[in-house]
Symmetry: C2
Subunit: 342 residues, 2 copies
DNA sequence: CTGAAAGCGCTTACAG
DNA sequence: CTGAAAGCGCTTACAG
C-alpha cells in the first residue's frame, strides 16, 4: 500500500463537488451552506477520517486551541502532591469536550515560568494559561497583563490584578476546623502552614489566628513549611518538643500530615489520644495510614473544570468574572478526638 | 499605547534589508546567509523579542514540535502515584532544551487513548507519542504502527512491535529483593502485584516465582491488585489472615505498601518484627511513614529523559534502538528485618 | 550568498 | 446558498 497523504478539506471539497470554503463552513457549524450540502460534507469527512490540520487552523484563525499550565514546584514535591494531577484531570475533562489540548511545563523558578509564558504567547502555542500558587505580590500578574495573554488565576480572589480567578473560601474551612477542635475540648492547637508567601497560606494563617483567638485558645501558633514531608516532620518535632505541646495540629497538606503522624508515633504519642491531626486537601493518602486522617477535602477536579471553563470564556472574549468553588469540607476520621486529660 | 502586532520574519527582513528566506535561514542555523548577515538578523530578532509563530512553522515544516503523552489511569490513582509526575519532569527537561512542548491527556479507556492518538496525529498536533503501561497483548501497538505515528514505549523490551523502547530490568531488581529477604531468614514471603495484564507485572511475577523457588521459599504467592491503597489494604488483610501468614511482603507500588503497613498496625502486627515490607518505586512517601519503608528505587526523571531523547531521535528519523535504563536499586530502611521466631 | 515565489491547509471576507 | 481568492507566517526548492 502506498503511504497516503492525509486528507484535507480540498479532498472533501472535490468529492462533494463544492468549494473549500463550503467545506470549512460545514465542518465548523457556520451558516453559509444548505443543510443537504452540510450533511453530505460531514458524511464524507467522517468516511475518510478527516481531522483538520491544527497548524493550518491555528495559523488562519489565529488560535491554537491549546491552553498552557506551568507548574513551579520541585519534581520531588510535585510528584507526591495529588492536588495537581487531580486538577489536571478536571481541566482536561472540560478541554477535551471542545478539542482543546493542554500543554504542560514544569518550571524551576518564577523567571523560568514567566519566560515560558512569553515564549508560548510569542509562538502562539497557547490561547491562554492557568496560574497556580498565587503570591501576595505576584510578579506574574503584571507580566501577563502587559502581554495581554488570557489567564485565569486558580486562587484569589484578591491580588489577581485584572485577571479572573476561581477560588474557594479557605478561611471558612479553617474556621470550621478550629471550631471542631474547640468543640472536642482542645485549647492548645497549632498549624503547620505552607509556603508563607503564597496568598492562600496568608489567608489561612489569618483565619487561624482570628478563629483561635475568638474561641479562647490559649495558644495557637503557625509554623511555616514547604509542603515536603521532611519539613512537616521537622515542624511537628519542634511543636511536640515544647513543654506545653499542642493537643491538635492542622497541616496545610496531606503529605505533611502523614509525616506528622509518623513523628508522633516515633515520639511515643498516641493519635488521637495525645495528639489530634487534621490534614488539608483530603486525598486517598489520608485513608492509607492508621489511624485514617481527619481531613479537609474538596472536589479538586471540579475546581479544575471551573478554572478551564472560565479561561475558555476569557479566550472567547466572553465577559468573565471570578467564581467561587465550594469550600473544603471537613471529614472527621480516626485522627481526631477529645484531648486526653494530662 | 497601541496594541502592537507581533513581529514576524517579514518585519525582521525589512529592518535587516534582506528577504524573508534569509531571515529563516539565519534563525534556523541553516547555511545560505553570510556570517555578518546572520549576526545582524539574530541581533534584530533578539532586540524586538521575536518568537516564530509555531503554527506557521508547523504548517510549512509539517512538524508540530510537540510530543504527546496520554495517561490511562483513574484520576484518583494517577494523583497519588508520584511516578508520572517525576517521569513528566524528566521528559520535559529534555524537551524544553529543544523548544518542544508536551501535550498531556488523561484518558479513561484504551479506546479513548487510541482515539486520542488518531486525533493528535490527524490534526498534526504532535510529532510523536510516549506509551506507558505496556500490556502483554497491547492493542495500541498495531494501531500506532498502522498510523506510522512515531512512538517510544516506556517498558518492554519485548512485546513492543516495531517500536523502540526504554526499559529497566525489573526481574533483576526483584531477584535482588527476594535474595535480601532470604538472607534475612524469611521463608514465607508474598507479593502484592500490580495490574496483571501489564507486561512489567508479568515479568515481575515470573521473576518472583523463579527466585523464591530457587531460594527454597516454602511459600511465595502473588496477589494481584490495581495499585490503589484500598486494594493494597485488602490484599494485605487477606495475606495476613492466613494461618501460615507471610513474614515479608513486596508491594508493586509505594501506595499499596503504605496501606499494607497501616493494615499490619491495625492487626497488631509489628513491622518489621512480625512483618517485613518492601515497596517498589521508592518515593518520598516511603520515608513519611513510621517505620520508613525499605524500597526499590530508580531515577525516574532520568528514565523519562531517556524516553524523550529516544522519541526525538525517532521523530528525526535517526536510527533508534531500545535502551536499558538502570535497574531499580534496593534501599533498606526500617521496615525490613529478620523474622521474629514464632 | 541572496532574492523572489510557491506552498503548507486552513478561515474568512467579498462577490455573485 | 455558493465560489473564487486572499491571507495567516513560516519553510524551502529554484534561480540568479
Amino acid at each position: 500500500m502506498i503511504a497516503m497523504k492525509r486528507p484535507t478539506i480540498a479532498d472533501i471539497a472535490q468529492r462533494a463537488g463544492v468549494s473549500k470554503g463550503a467545506v470549512s463552513y460545514a465542518l465548523n457549524g457556520q451558516p453559509g451552506v444548505s443543510p443537504a450540502t452540510r450533511q453530505r460534507i460531514l458524511a464524507i469527512a467522517e468516511e475518510i477520517g478527516f481531522n483538520p490540520n491544527s497548524a493550518a487552523r491555528a495559523l488562519s484563525a489565529a488560535t491554537s486551541n491549546a491552553i498552557g499550565l506551568a507548574l513551579r514546584r520541585p519534581a520531588r514535591i510535585l510528584g507526591i502532591e495529588p492536588f495537581f494531577m487531580e486538577l489536571i484531570s478536571g481541566v482536561e475533562g472540560e478541554l477535551s469536550a471542545r478539542s482543546y489540548a493542554l500543554t504542560l511545563q514544569v518550571v524551576a523558578t518564577v523567571e523560568d515560568e514567566v519566560a515560558v509564558y512569553r515564549r508560548w504567547w510569542g509562538e502562539r502555542r497557547v490561547d491562554g494559561v492557568l496560574i497556580c500558587d498565587l503570591r501576595v505580590d505576584d510578579e506574574r500578574i503584571p507580566v501577563l497583563d502587559k502581554l495581554q495573554l488570557p489567564a485565569v488565576v486558580i486562587g484569589g480572589p484578591t491580588h489577581t490584578g485584572n485577571l479572573s480567578s476561581v477560588w474557594s473560601d479557605d478561611a471558612a474551612a479553617l474556621v470550621e476546623t478550629v471550631e471542631y477542635l474547640a468543640a472536642l475540648g482542645h485549647r492548645r492547637i497549632a498549624r503547620v502552614g505552607g509556603l508563607p508567601d503564597l496568598l492562600h497560606t496568608e489567608i489561612r494563617s489569618q483565619a487561624f489566628a482570628d478563629a483561635s483567638k475568638r474561641l479562647g485558645m490559649t495558644e495557637a501558633i503557625t509554623v511555616s513549611s514547604d509542603y515536603s514531608g521532611e519539613e512537616g516532620a521537622r515542624a511537628t518535632r519542634r511543636l511536640l518538643s515544647n513543654s506545653r505541646r499542642p493537643t491538635g495540629i492542622i497541616y496545610d497538606n496531606d503529605v505533611m500530615a502523614i509525616a506528622g503522624l509518623g513523628v508522633a508515633q516515633e515520639m511515643g504519642l498516641a493519635v488521637p489520644g495525645d495528639l489530634s491531626i487534621v490534614a488539608w486537601d483530603d486525598s486517598p493518602l489520608c485513608q492509607l495510614v492508621h489511624p485514617a486522617l481527619t481531613a479537609l477535602g474538596r472536589d479538586i477536579p471540579a475546581y479544575g473544570a471551573l478554572a478551564a471553563r472560565t479561561l475558555l470564556a476569557a479566550i472567547a472574549h466572553e465577559p468573565t468574572a471570578s467564581f467561587q468553588a465550594e469550600p473544603s469540607r471537613l471529614t472527621p476520621r480516626g485522627s481526631t478526638a477529645p484531648p486526653r486529660r494530662a
